[in-house]
């Protein structure tokens, strides 16, 4: 995310990661969102996470739908291919892209209008399939680009900028993802970079459907008193169940931790998550308990954040389908076309 034009040349002392890339190499075009938009903070967190993970930018494919959130992939990872699909259909496009080349990192960016209304069906089914991806919903409870209508994640009783009260029950994407078998489910807040960046890093390393619902206040249309998605409200009601420290696959675990309050979880790719338990009873390996906890705390008016569920050794869609280990898009005639003689043999079977 960039909101002012910066010179192409940068200071020779600028920090580089292991691949020699600077932070700048992960940035994109200038953001056209409103100043102070939560989405820009998420873009910044994505840039930091990719920088820290030493990801080659071109190994990431950014996918999105339509809406303010879906515009953001233009504002980070400028050296990655992006696909700004039609409204609510990012999940299917991402699924297809992933089928074609399982070797890239798929970053799906969507919003609450895109994912919870028009695209709810695609959200649900792509989670069910266990597509290996990071699915970020930048959730502000409002339609920004069309100027302030409630979205399906707006809480019942919350007030619009124009003073209207939302009468409909909200859709909770996190609870849905849990029910649908997502193997990595987290919620965070765009204003809490400390929590967000490690969650994104862990989600990228996760080899399955990683769902991140990120409350991201809309400064223009949903940041007033009476909104449950305003900066003030989220700060006041944010209940983090844990803090994670993410250690990539190749690093040794050096940080000390206190037994009993920290849990170590190793993922498929060898990466390690160190979970500092803020709520001693919260167990992120128990799907049913996580669902119950979310319901209970939501009723109490709290917004539960943190890593809510993790199945570190899940199998992804390619696993279910039994596809080859390499990318399908690299196969050539020799590997794909059975040829003229084989066709003649087929002809014989139809005689």
């Amino acid at each position: 995310m960039t909101y002012i034009t910066k010179p192409k040349l940068h200071h020779p002392g600028l920090a580089t990661n292991k691949l020699g890339f600077t932070h700048r190499d992960y940035e994109g075009r200038i953001s056209t969102l409103c100043a102070g938009c939560g989405h820009d903070s998420i873009s910044a967190a994505l840039i930091q996470a990719c920088f820290e993970l030493d990801i080659e930018p071109h190994r990431v494919a950014k996918m999105s739908g339509i809406g303010c959130s879906s515009k953001t992939p233009d504002y980070f990872l400028g050296q990655s291919h992006g696909f700004n699909a039609v409204h609510g259909r990012m999940p299917s496009v991402l699924t297809g892209a992933n089928l074609a080349n399982r070797e890239l990192i798929y970053l799906g960016v969507s919003g609450d209008g895109d994912s919870a209304s028009i695209g709810l069906g695609q959200f649900v089914h792509c989670v069910r399939r266990g597509v290996n991806m990071v699915y970020i919903c930048e959730n502000n409870g409002v339609y920004g680009l069309t100027k302030g209508q409630f979205s399906a994640t707006a809480d019942k009783g919350s007030k619009s900028k124009g003073g209207e009260i939302n009468a409909d029950s909200p859709i909770d994407l996190v609870s849905l993802a849990l029910m649908l078998g997502a193997s990595f489910v987290a919620r965070s807040f765009s204003g809490d970079k400390k929590q967000l960046v490690p969650l994104i890093r862990a989600a990228i390393a996760h080899q399955g459907s990683a769902i991140l619902d990120i409350i991201s206040p809309c400064v223009t249309f949903n940041n007033h008193a009476g909104s449950t998605k305003s900066f003030d409200f989220v700060r006041d009601h944010n209940e983090a169940v844990n803090r994670i420290d993410f250690v990539p696959a190749k690093k040794e675990i050096t940080v000390d931790y206190e037994p009993g309050t920290t849990e170590i979880v190793r993922q498929h790719d060898g990466s390690v998550l160190k979970l500092a338990k803020l709520h001693p009873d919260y167990d992120p390996s128990n799907r049913a308990a996580a669902l119950a906890y979310l319901q209970e705390r939501h009723a109490a008016g709290e917004i539960v954040t943190g890593l809510l569920y993790l199945d570190p050794m899940t199998e992804d869609l390619h696993g279910h389908l039994g596809t080859i280990d390499e990318a399908l898009n690299r196969l050539n005639e020799a590997e794909l076309c059975p040829g003229a003689d084989a066709l003649e043999a087929v002809n014989n079977e139809y005689r």
Binding site: A85, R89, P91, A100, G322
Partner: protein, 610 residues
């Protein structure tokens, strides 16, 4: 009483059955055994949108001359369905034959005086031989095949051979099936000697041709054409295409070492997701397709507009059925042409391929992937239920040794590294086709942002009207380029100089060929042109302009191909006469012959009067 119809190797047999009664495989056995005698057949299922209990028909056109369309009319009816008895009896040509189950006596009022009855006590014969209720039902069908074999002189060896082949894996079923054949055969030989003057005689007219359904052939086209991703949603009549693809992939696409799949097939949650997956996969460099029918094409509209504008390849098989809405899901039509040609909102146009039979469904199926990659746009293969779900006798599927895939303009990492200029939507070669890069190609060069919003040559968002217009004009020019790349029309000149022409396409071919022959015998000469793709190559316009009047034969109500021609080639509609057949059954040679000859004779009379 008219003369009983007498014919050798040239007649139509129709079976009227109840669906779910096991008749389909018996009827297919009948058609195949005739093929084994070297006599061409064209068989068609006319079936309900139902699993069990509703009427279904199977029509077999026997044609020593090799006509593969529907002829029209029925010479021999096998009436096994009381629900449709009256209509079935009424549909028999005068002098034709009726084979029925005579176990229970029927009142004379249920028959016609001008047809010949062939009573066979099927239930009685069956119940005498089998005790199991399911067997009693199934073998009744086999018994009538045995009776037909005796009546029509089907060679016993052909039937036995097929039964042995069919039950290769379940050998213990061979004997009871042969027993059923013999029961019917024996009965007809004893009681119906000389009762039927329709006969079969061995010839060599089948040759090296194959008997295959269009969906099966199209699926093979996808395998040979290099498709690796298939995303689909079940819908009649396209379902068997995706299922066939899965079957053939399991045979041809397993990695020999790892035993893993060199393909991915996803049954999507709906057609919108199916096309979304296809676009995602194609954008990412895999060859991907979906198979659907009209309602699916309707749902995919927004994505088609996207793919047209963002220039993403895709292959779409539209196995057309009767519309509008749910329409007649198990009947055939050519009624999605306009829907597909202009799919998407805003100004859009798409390439359509129009196969005439399973062989072309294979050929166009494979070629569609080359065209999609070359033109970077969706390619629609417009098959239909008649081609897709019926077995057709057709030329063998062909593949040139050493044929390579045309992956189109994809810029490689080496080219980017060497400094070749890349702009996703720049026309650098004058053919209006830009270069694309695949995600993950190069660490610092060639990345771009694919979007359905207006964009400039570098794929950047723009609201500049001049840039937008230039982009839209380039897409038009690209469509021009497509004219020379798509399958070209096939002309069939009349034997004598003709001032009238006829244009047709797709599954109308078989009936059209026979109709042209019949018209010629009446002294009515027409030059014919079979259109095989949209956009129309210039030769189509030339053909129209060199004829005073052009008939356009189609299987839809609204003359959709004609409208496309009028619209795209700017030709006066008065130049054309539409011949339209859209009751859901495949068009017949008799229908076309009658419609054209009436009109031509009328014109001749008028000319003579003037």
């Amino acid at each position: 009483m008219p003369q009983p119809i007498k014919a050798t190797n040239d007649f139509v047999v129709k079976f009227a059955n109840v669906n779910g009664s096991g008749s389909a495989s018996a009827n297919e056995l009948f058609a195949r055994s005739i093929l084994r005698m070297g006599v061409p057949v064209a068989s068609r299922n006319i079936f309900p949108s139902n699993i069990q209990g509703l009427p279904t028909w199977y029509e077999v056109r026997v044609s020593g001359e090799g006509w593969l369309g529907r002829r029209g009319g029925v010479d021999l009816m096998v009436a096994m369905n009381p629900q449709t008895w009256d209509k079935d009896i009424a549909s028999i040509d005068p002098g034709g034959y009726l084979l029925y189950d005579s176990t229970k006596p029927m009142p004379a009022s249920k028959f016609r005086k001008d047809i010949n009855v062939l009573p066979v006590p099927l239930t009685e014969l069956c119940n005498g031989a089998y005790s199991d209720p399911r067997q009693r039902q199934l073998f009744k069908n086999i018994i009538y095949i045995g009776a037909l074999a005796a009546l029509l002189d089907i060679e016993a060896s052909a039937v036995e051979w097929l039964i042995a082949e069919q039950f290769e894996g379940k050998k213990k079923l061979i004997a009871p099936n042969l027993q059923a054949i013999n029961l019917g055969h024996e009965y007809a030989r004893t009681h119906l000697k000389g009762a039927c003057a329709l006969k079969l005689a061995r010839t060599d007219k089948v040759g090296h041709r194959i008997f295959i359904s269009g969906n099966d052939a199209a699926a093979l086209g996808c395998v040979w054409g290099g498709a690796t991703v298939c995303a689909w949603y079940p819908i009649t009549p396209s379902t068997s295409l995706a299922e066939s693809f899965a079957k053939h992939c399991k045979r041809f696409r397993i990695d020999p070492v790892t035993k893993k799949n060199r393909f991915a097939i996803v049954q999507a949650e709906d057609e919108i997701a199916a096309i979304g997956m296809v676009l995602g996969a194609s954008w990412n460099g895999a060859r991907a397709f979906t198979a659907t029918s009209g309602p699916g094409i309707s749902l995919m509209q927004e994505f088609f507009g996207f793919a047209y504008y963002a220039e993403v390849p895709a292959v779409v098989f539209d196995i057309q059925r009767g519309g509008p809405s749910t329409g007649m899901p198990t009947r055939t039509q050519q009624s999605d042409l306009l829907l597909a040609a202009y799919a998407g909102h805003g100004d859009t146009k798409h390439v359509l391929l129009l196969p005439e039979d399973p062989r072309e469904a294979f050929e166009f199926g494979a070629t569609a992937f080359d065209l999609a990659d070359r033109l970077q746009t969706p390619i629609f293969v417009m098959s239909d239920l008649d081609i897709g779900m019926n077995d057709w006798l057709c030329e063998p599927l062909a593949w040139d040794k050493g044929r390579k895939f045309d992956r189109g303009k994809v810029m490689t990492a080496e080219e980017l590294e060497a400094g070749k200029e890349f702009g996703r939507y720049l026309d650098v070669d004058g053919d209006a086709i830009p270069y694309r890069t695949l995600p993950g190609t190069h660490p610092t060069k060639g990345a771009y942002f694919t979007r359905g919003s207006s964009h400039d040559g570098a794929a950047r968002y723009t609201e500049d009207g001049t840039i937008y217009v230039a982009g839209m004009q380039r897409l038009l020019k690209k469509f021009e380029t497509a004219k020379s790349l798509v399958p070209q029309p096939i002309a069939r000149p009349a034997k004598e100089k003709a001032k009238r022409g006829v244009i047709y396409y797709g599954s109308t071919s078989g009936a059209m060929n026979e109709a042209l022959d019949a018209l010629e015998r009446q002294g009515l000469h027409l030059d014919a042109l079979r259109v095989r793709a949209f956009p129309f190559p210039d030769i189509v316009v030339e053909f129209i302009n060199t004829h005073e009047q052009v008939y356009v034969v189609e299987q839809n109500r609204d003359a959709q191909l004609l409208k496309l021609i009028v619209n795209e080639c700017a030709i006066d509609p008065a130049h054309f006469i539409s011949i339209l057949h859209f009751d859901g059954t495949p068009i017949t040679a008799r229908f076309i012959t009658k419609a054209i000859s009436e009109r031509m004779n009328l014109d001749k009379a008028k000319e003579a009067a003037e």
